[in-house]
Symmetry: C2
Amino acid sequence: MAITDIVGYIAAIGTTGAFIPQAFKVYKTKKTEDLSLGTFLLFSTGVLLWTVYGVFINSVPVILSNGITFFISCYILVMIIKGKKSEKQKIINDN
Amino acid sequence: MAITDIVGYIAAIGTTGAFIPQAFKVYKTKKTEDLSLGTFLLFSTGVLLWTVYGVFINSVPVILSNGITFFISCYILVMIIKGKKSEKQKIINDN
């Protein structure tokens, strides 16, 4: 395998696996206050479009890596939205 | 432009721009407690390797989008490390 391909594969593993620790942290602590809703909304949309792009160009690595990242990113996104909702509810209950 | 290219470009803008709101949030609040150090360490390494890969394959879009994301991700990473350090210092001072 050429050095170019090796660098590409390690890069793909890095950016695909990157959100696993964040998802675990959110799962464990249930705290998402410092996470940006906009970031995970944009990122989830972006990786979904990358997956669609992978289907168009018939690239299994593009489909796989972005498809997996899409599900991880969506989990974090849902937890951020849930966090914001319970925060709002708390303010209503406190008043 | 073909629909495939349009989807690819929108995907690239989405995943490149995604971390700007998170960087702004960290800059404004200086709070990084809920962010995963592992995620931003892996992600920064991954996008740096994508940039190197872009140099190898001579692709300006790959270099540009990942190069920009690298700097944004590194800023968030540095702020997480700073946050962890001041947290540790607080524990030492409290005891």
